[in-house]
């Protein structure tokens, strides 16, 4: 019970089998063991949102989840969403609108934004802000991020800006 625990999970559609210590957080497992460094580590206590990933379709904080808890789960990271093109338009809107500067928060912002756009086709700015309320950005002041998400929502529903 004290030693490493065997886990088997899917990460970005690929089967992963590993043996991990219970204290290992999912974010450290992704970054250190799988070298998926797109998921960032910020505060390590669930406040900043930089480590947001999807587990079984829901966004979660990967600093507040143990790797052992993801046994049999399906984990998707920014690399997965980026490589399969799911958020290509959102990434492009972020780039065009300068919705990032240092980029540290961006993977988490994109995960949270895509989560909102999957649930709500045309969120207003207040709803966008509310859904991103758990993600800190220290560069942009958020306006450009909200703009980029609003633009993407409009484009996806065929509404012109």
């Amino acid at each position: 019970m004290t030693g490493a625990v065997a886990i088997s999970l899917s990460v970005n559609g690929e089967r992963v089998d590993a043996s991990v210590l219970p204290r290992l957080n999912l974010v450290d497992f992704l970054r250190e063991h799988l070298k998926l460094t797109g998921t960032h580590i910020g505060c390590e206590h669930g406040v900043c949102g930089a480590c947001t990933v999807r587990v079984n379709g829901d966004i979660v904080r990967s600093c507040l989840l143990l790797a052992v808890q993801t046994h049999n789960a399906s984990v998707e990271t920014i690399e997965g969403l980026s490589d399969n093109g799911e958020i290509a338009d959102l990434q492009s809107a972020f780039r065009e609108r300068n919705a990032l500067q240092c980029g540290f928060c961006t993977p988490g912002m994109l995960m949270a934004a895509q989560d909102l756009l999957k649930q709500s086709r045309s969120p207003d700015r207040e709803q966008i802000r509310e859904h991103l309320s758990g993600n800190y950005c220290r560069c942009t002041g958020y306006q450009a991020i909200v703009d980029a998400i609003e633009t993407t929502a409009r484009a996806r529903t065929g509404r012109l800006p």
């Binding site: 019970m1 004290t2 625990v5 210590l21 219970p22 204290r23 957080n25 450290d28 390590e44 206590h45 669930g46 949102g49 947001t52 829901d58 966004i59 979660v60 904080r61 600093c63 507040l64 989840l65 143990l66 052992v68 808890q69 046994h71 949270a112 989560d115 909102l116 802000r129 509310e130 859904h131 309320s133 758990g134 993600n135």
Partner: protein, 293 residues
């Protein structure tokens, strides 16, 4: 920071959990959604020897309405409460409250049982349990116990749970259709812990309160079911009556002082919430004049 080393057990049944808790006592911690436990462990505020993960116990998950009682399994996530048509229909106060619990990514993991067992005096759900007259269902070495919410919360992070107990469910009376509610909290950022909050449920007849329950949070070491509500029941509400109720409320509060607010600011905001609540529930904007936050 990272949590210190611990042993991990993936529980296979409630009986298995009780067995482990009985053997380890205070050296074990139950892991539900982990949204309070893991931050505390990462910050090294606590370092349990054993973490008992109850995440796989499907029998502790779900919402069921039977007759006049809603039973919510301890592992039911905040996100599940928010999306539930049963909660929206039969406990609408809870739905409004859950929208203020942290952020979407936290609500996808955090559970009602975890929040109540944690008993943070600034969190929303314990106060809702008081307002709604909930019963907390607990399994321990001596069998099942049913504890009224007003007896359950005993201090900052303190409850009637012993280290050998597992919180398994919550029971709420179905909210009558004639009842109305009010929920509001002041926070620096949407989803942050409240500076002061109020979860209220009322029955209004002919412009008067036939019943009024006021559950305040972040005003003391535990959620508070305000006795001063009784001053507003069965009487015609005038600014003078409301002002007297505010004074009585003030005497019931013991608000903490921290980096978010002084004690005096919390006292002020609690009175603002009471005024807004009464004004909103009675649809009397005149009562709200001058109540600025």
């Amino acid at each position: 920071m990272k949590a210190s080393a611990f042993a991990y057990a993936r529980a296979t049944s409630v009986a298995n959990v009780l067995e482990l808790l009985s053997a380890y006592g205070e050296r074990a911690k139950v892991l539900s959604g982990g949204q309070s436990l893991l931050p505390a462990m990462n910050l090294r505020l606590i370092a349990p020897e054993l973490v008992v993960d109850i995440g796989e116990l499907g029998e502790l998950r779900g919402i069921a309405v039977k007759g006049s009682v809603i039973t919510i399994g301890a592992l039911t996530r905040h996100a599940d409460l928010l999306k539930s048509s049963e909660i929206a229909a039969h406990a609408p106060l809870l739905k409004d409250a859950v929208a203020h619990v942290a952020h979407p990514a936290i609500r996808n993991r955090g559970t009602i049982g975890g929040s109540l067992a944690q008993a943070d005096p600034a969190s929303e759900l314990p106060a809702c349990m008081l307002t709604l007259g909930a019963t907390i269902v607990v399994c321990g070495p001596g069998g099942e116990r049913r504890i009224a919410a007003r007896e359950f919360f005993s201090g900052i992070y303190e409850t009637a749970l012993t280290p050998q107990d597992l919180l398994v469910a919550v029971e709420l009376p179905v909210t009558p259709r004639t009842s109305t509610h009010f929920f509001h909290e002041f926070a620096r950022r949407h989803g942050d812990y409240a500076i002061v909050g109020l979860a209220a449920q009322a029955v209004v007849t002919d412009g008067r309160f036939a019943d009024l329950r006021l559950g305040f949070f972040a005003v003391g070491d535990r959620p508070l079911l305000a006795m001063s509500a009784s001053r507003l029941v069965g009487v015609s509400i005038t600014p003078a009556v409301l002002s007297e109720a505010c004074t009585a409320l003030d005497a019931e509060l013991d608000p903490p002082e921290d980096q978010q607010a002084t004690s005096a600011m919390r006292r002020h905001l609690a009175k603002v919430l009471l005024t807004r609540c009464v004004s909103s529930l009675l649809a009397r904007p005149d009562l709200c004049a001058g109540a600025s936050a």
